[in-house]
Amino acid sequence: MILSHIGYYSLLLGFIISVILLFYSIFYFIKNSQKINQNIFSLLFLQFFTVVISFISLVYSFINSDFSNATVYNNSHSTKPIFYKITGTWGNHEGSLLLWLLVLTLFIFLFIIFSKKQPVKYRFLSIFFQQIIILGFFLFLLLTSNPFSFLFPIPNEGLGLNPILQDPALAIHPPILYLGYVGSSIIFSASLASLIQKNINKEWANHIKKWIQIAWFFLTIGILLGSIWAYYELGWGGFWFWDPVENVSLMPWLCLTALFHTVIVLEKRNLLKSWTIILSIATFTFSMIGTFLVRSGILNSVHTFANDPERGVFILIFLFSLIFLSIILFFIYQVNESRSEKSFFLISKETSILINNWFMMYFLSVILIGTTYPIFLEVITNEKISIGPPFFNKLIIPFLILFLIFMALGPNLKWIKDNYKNIKYSRIFLFFVCIFISFYIIKKTSSEILFISILGGAALYLIFITINEFLNKKNNFSQTISHFGFSLFVMSILLNSLFSSEFSANMKLGQELAYNKEQIKFLKIKSIDKENYKSIIANFEIKDEKKNIISLYPEIRIYNQPNILTSEADIKTTIFYDKFIVINLLKGEEIFNVRYQTKPFMIWIWISVCLVSIGGILSVLKKN
């Protein structure tokens, strides 16, 4: 009770500070102040502090199961384990927005501390734009989704947290993803500030690059965690479903990846200024669009755990005000790049990065259209459709081939001007060798050989080229490891989808079935009462042709609050394949639907994404 009051008034205080900071920063900006005075630092810290206080109060209300708080009542239950009581704080709409705000205020505070070398006016403007965003989120929180609203009479028991969210990977997935999403807000504010100050140059690129890399790193890891969670918790055995909510996290990622590369061109060659600004604006806009699509309930998805159309209106208006604001600013203060700055030499590193950007934009538009087209169609013609994986696969895979080839060739080119005579013919020869190898492998296994074997060849080519780079002493280690990771990523997905096999049947206790040289035996079943669920654990034995025996223990959980049934897959992971088994309750507790899958190279998908992000974090740590 008292905690809710503290939390609420602390939020109000933060909101007031935000208004003060807005006026303060613009006032000092006009006054041409020569330095950022201590008051601004204190206010920024205080603002961060108020959000921390209110976040802690909410966490405490969750730990104490204080059901007088509506958020706690709706999303918690007194029998829930303490860990999930805490993580339940951001497992719901109100709490997760509070987390947004926490990260927003933290980032602007850190930004001002670490940007001391930058021009003062630019820093004031960055505070100004960031405070507009923060103000918007304070209003959103206070007006439409107050995490501290009271319930009277006080309920005895809460409604519980959705059981599929009660998972360690998902507990840390939102905070990490938010660091990426919200990290892009600071890029947005800073790029608008530098647009007005006309200081888009090498120094600025050097300074903003670190922020881009940090946001990119967290976004990558955040998406990875979400994907791992979907793999073992949703029980379908896939790791990416082209689901709208997954897509909206991929859109800012693609923008950010393009920006990651473009900003290097800006840093080294003072080129692509407007494009860098457009990408910075777009990245944050896509993060906001993501929030809008997920929170408003406009899209139907397995991931929408909290939604409310009225909140959607607020985010939509806020989102488009930001878009219009940035478009207008962009037009007024547009950058005049001189003609010499615009021209590129055809064979150069700049061109290859530009090509990377074209591909990123292409992938982005495919995903954007695939995700939002159903909304447009429904509004205009009232027809409901859903766009599935085939659409994305058909449009993305062919282009991925070219993308991989450019990725192998581009990084070796020189800045400014390279000569085509420097291209080694051995590399072209190697490319055809790779295609031949993959053609040979795939011919034996699959009928759709054309695209896949070229794609496999291209991925293999990139693997060879990057390994070759590692051996080269003058290599750019962080870049090479990221590109190597990416080639490994494409390769493992390819092999995974080619060689995956699935077996599905209804089985009784004691039954034994044969499948693909393997014997699957349903041995035992037992039922255990746990803290907040009843667990039914089955025991399966898989015997392969060499008489190796693997025991698997898939589980069904019947949660008490709210009453939901979840299937927990059991997965045995080795470096070559995953054995994945999941059961579902049919009638009574006798017959079960069993799905058994062999998924080759699953772990390599996770490892390769880790490698990609390690490359990203290494470039943050790298000295100039």
Binding site: L159, F320, L585, G588
Partner: protein, 173 residues
Amino acid sequence: MKKNIFYLSILLFFTFIFTIFYLGLDKPNFYKPKEVKNKNLEEFISTELFSNKQFNSKDIIENNNFTLINIWSSWCVPCRSEHGKLMNLSKKTDLNIVGLNYKDKKNNAIKFLDEMGNPFSKNLIDPNGIISISLGAYGVPESFLLNNKSRIIKKFIGPLTSDNISEIIKIIQ
């Protein structure tokens, strides 16, 4: 001049997207997913709370034009607030309201109905929650509106609101 037209068209483009998204918000299709809406309710057998007799769900449902199955429990707080609305509904209309008493103790359930009134024509029990799960319920309270062919016309997750009640009345008349 040319530039201005360019700017204007970009602004118009974003305004168009804004309008579409705004209109799209009025069409959230969450609480009546297609597959649930046009599915038949799974048949089940259960015991009546008061008479201790066994009933088949099909017999109860298909003798009436419309049936509302309400999943409730005496320990469930929102059910308590919902109960008055069910009482009103049973008085105003001749809708066949069937209760499904979820994970409850018999004495508590009877006490609850004595205290708050009994809107149900029959009250089936679901002591371990298996029936509710097989019906595809998420929790308590939850209500299914069915026609005389056991087809789910509408599903209400959470306590019924006044709007839901008037919607039900509209459908059955």
